[in-house]
């Protein structure tokens, strides 16, 4: 493919246009009489391009991208499973996309029914009492869940509970969400195998603790076997357990977070429930809670009336609103379609097959890559770089070399417990042949690292652009076309 690097602004020609609007005659041009002091002084410098210009330009840009549909995407902690096509079509049905969020309830019963059905399916799958689907993303779900946690303690008059315990191996969003929710983060140490050190946890559990945030399996892909003991300790101390649902996928069909003692959780619909990541969003991060916390969930809420109809309510005990309306409804539709397509017969196989795929890759590669923790993993696992450290080839080098071979890289340098972390999550939608191809390439890269380390260190060499000057980008941030032009003219 030809290299293409134009910006839409660079295709612009004065007077060209990509739209037609209807001719109107309201008899009076009120716009012309708007007071000048309230109007824009200088026009926005927006592109002037034809429709075909736009179509070719963005088609060219799409060709510079790698998605799940392009190839294997073993990005740890991101659950890059296949995004079913029918779901895109269903979510685009005009009966759902053409309704205004403030329409009379009589005219949006189908949308409310879908929202309610998904709430209830998730409650059952999670083993919790009730869900809100309003949060827009995983991190937004975390924030909402922590607000529920705080609101619970505030309602109990237990105002000194302002600390939240977070494992040192947690996703970065956990401590950041706690900060936004006004909680102080207390870190609990991991044992060498990555699980929470219960002995380190015990002394932290005093009457200032609001709760603990955990994910299980943890960020190393290992199941926290002492979870029931942890739940007991935290509950006895008056705290609540928050479950980070980023790692829910391997538990489908096997374990429900509610049954492990968790009180609050979020689910990333864009991970476990197959909705597309969209290059960074829109996602959806529903939050589920146990019965005693249900009244604190955010407004607005969807309830079922005794006559079977659905209604939008606001609850006085609620923590407040965290979204303008009912969240990313279009994303919920896709997750709902996924649950119905798999049904109870197949949903239960998601976790086991994701776990099988991860363990298969792990066992197939541990002769060349350093496996810091032995034992069965769940949906993902972490290598601490190449086993042979003498070559100087880093995890970053291996990741970039994978791009040359047509694979997306794993998550790298996370978790922070190891220096050369390489976190691999294949998901259940990948077939054995794909896993074998990936394993073969990983072996090949390990061999290259020994025989010709510079080849790996120079990677990528076949991609449309090569190594980028990231330091320069941060030192002198050029964030707009206007700024780019002024830099070029310097």
């Amino acid at each position: 493919m030809k290299y293409y690097d134009k910006l839409i602004f660079e295709l612009s020609r004065p007077g060209r246009k990509g739209y037609e609007l209807p001719a109107t005659d309201f008899g009076h041009d009120a716009f012309a009489e708007m007071p000048a002091t309230l109007m824009r002084e200088k026009d926005a410098d927006l592109p002037e391009v034809s429709e075909l210009d736009v179509v070719r330009h963005y088609t060219n840009l799409s060709n510079k991208n790698f998605g799940v549909d392009t190839g294997f995407y073993p990005l740890g902690s991101c659950t890059m499973k296949y995004n079913p096509k029918i779901n895109e079509e269903l979510a685009a049905l005009p009966a759902f996309t053409q309704i205004h969020p403030l329409q009379d309830e009589k005219s949006i019963q189908g949308a409310l029914e879908l929202y309610w059905n998904l709430q209830h399916a998730l409650s059952n799958i999670a083993g919790l009492y009730e869900f809100t689907l309003n949060p827009y993303a995983g991190a937004h779900g975390e924030l909402t869940g922590l607000m529920v946690m705080r609101q619970y303690h505030i309602a109990n008059g237990d105002l000194k509970r302002t600390k939240v315990i977070v494992p040192d191996s947690a996703h970065g969003t956990n401590p950041a969400s706690a900060m936004v929710a006004g909680l102080q983060v207390v870190e609990v140490k991991s044992k060498p195998n990555g699980s929470i050190d219960v002995e380190d946890l015990k002394p932290l559990l005093d009457d200032t603790v609001a709760g603990i945030m955990m994910t299980n399996p943890n960020t190393l892909g290992m199941f926290e076997t002492e979870i029931m003991e942890i739940a007991k300790l935290v509950h006895e101390a008056g705290g609540l357990l928050y479950y980070d649902g980023a790692n829910l996928n391997p538990l489908l069909g096997k374990v429900r977070p509610g049954d492990m003692g968790f009180d609050i959780m979020h689910i990333n619909l864009h991970k476990t429930f197959s909705t597309p990541h969209g290059g960074g969003g829109p996602g959806s991060g529903p939050v589920g809670v146990v019965e005693k916390l249900a009244k604190f969930l955010p407004n607005p809420r969807v309830k079922k009336n005794s006559d079977g109809s659905f209604t939008i309510t606001t609850d006085e005990d609620s923590l407040g609103s965290i979204s303008t309306f009912l969240g990313n409804f279009g994303v919920m539709m896709k997750a709902y379609a996924y649950i119905l397509t798999l049904g109870k017969e197949n949903l239960k196989n998601v976790g086991p097959m994701a776990t099988l795929n991860a363990n298969y890759i792990k066992e197939s590669l541990k002769d060349d890559y350093l496996l810091p923790i032995e034992g069965v993993c769940k949906h993902e696992f972490v290598f601490d770089g190449l086993k042979d450290k003498s070559t100087g080839v880093t995890t970053l080098n291996v990741a970039k070399r994978l791009l040359d071979y047509g694979f997306h890289a794993p998550t790298i340098y996370f978790p922070l417990l190891f220096h050369e972390s390489m976190m691999i999550e294949p998901t259940e939608t990948e077939a054995l042949e794909t896993l074998d191809e990936f394993i073969e390439v990983m072996h090949k890269v390990a061999a290259e690292a020994k025989e010709n380390p510079d080849l790996v260190k120079d990677a990528p060499v076949t991609t449309l652009v090569r190594k980028l000057d990231e330091t320069g980008a941060a030192k002198n941030p050029i964030l707009t076309y206007r700024h780019l032009v002024s830099e070029d003219n310097k």
Binding site: N65, L75, G127, V185, Y360, E363
Partner: protein, 440 residues
Amino acid sequence: MSNKFIPHTEEDIRVMLDKIGVDTIDDLYSDVPAEVVYKEEYDVPSAMSEIELRKHFETLGKKNKPLTIFAGGGVYDHYSPSVINHLLARSEFYTAYTPYQPEISQGTLQYIFEYQSIISELTGMEATNASMYDGATATAEAMFMMVASAKKRNRVLISSTVADRVVEVVKTYAKFHGVDITIIPEKNGITDLDAMKEELAKGDVAGVILPSPNKYGILEDYTGVADCMHAEKAYMAINADPSALAVIRTPAEWGADIACGDGQSLGMPLNFGGPYLGYISCAKGMLRKMPGRVVGATKDADGKRAYVLTLQAREQHIRREKATSNICSNQSLMALYATIYVALMGKQGMKELNRIACDGAHYLYSKLIESGKFTPAYPGLPFLKEFVVKTDLDIEAINSRLLDNGIMGGINLGEGKVAFAVTEKRTKEEIDNLVTLMLS
């Protein structure tokens, strides 16, 4: 085990278990305490084929009623050109993750750069991030930015003429984070600037959030306001409708430090409330306090122009609890939506659609006033596409009648006030029909 999304044959499973060195799938869960293993069946329906699934969605869809929309309330029925959905359906865009590997994500990175450029043109501000969840959360983040930038000040003022739903979300974020919020009262439909100045004079205000247009559709006059703020060392944020910014005075022209709001008006379908996007722009000096993802231009090893996620030292995956916010994603695909929309409408189209909407709104306004049944709620104040009128008629009864005729009427604000919005999609005939039905 096999299903169309789970490709494992019995033979595959055998081969893989052998390689792992275990006998059964259950052995992979041997570390899970028996007491937490779920032994029941999920209480969800049986698997559906595409045929059944489609019928199920169509059945649900029939219980919704798309209407001819004459309401706004922050969500506007602008036209979405056909091209956008065709391009958004390119799965190289929608099946990609956040662009962590820039060498194979230049498509995403470049459209975000174009999005940032376009929003910056509309707001007049130097920097824009890669987008936020929605307009309300973007406004809450603007509040955090002002508190983080103002030294040792923890109080933010917000005008009661900012949309109620935005104020609600800002208040929730403030309550938990520990920011003091003071609502500035309104006077005859606009912010009471004297009341605002009194608060400012107390010397503890980090910033002020004002709307443009406001929740009644009114274009408020902020002449001199920025100077007042800055004299008191407070920051000024404006929550603005980005579609309207193609024609109305920009946050930068008002002297604001931050612009924020909801991107829905940039041609996005109504989507029953989401997905849309929130945008946030700021002056360069506040850049490092800005939340979320930011894309910057750079060069690759061969000197080719390229784009990359930048200024990541602010973010949660590096800074954890010391980050500027917990945001780790953007509404990327909706940012692409907005970008393609503005590219199609272009410099002229963005102005033209505002003119049509404005003319249509004033036409409806005049018809209602001329009927003698409605009076101006805020006489003499300028509006663009949304306005409020007062009536003694039963608004609920009118709206119910309109609904039966496939129309969403104005939003009932209580006390006899009703808010209408008109976009470029509404024809003269539709407006005439609306008025006839309302008065019938």
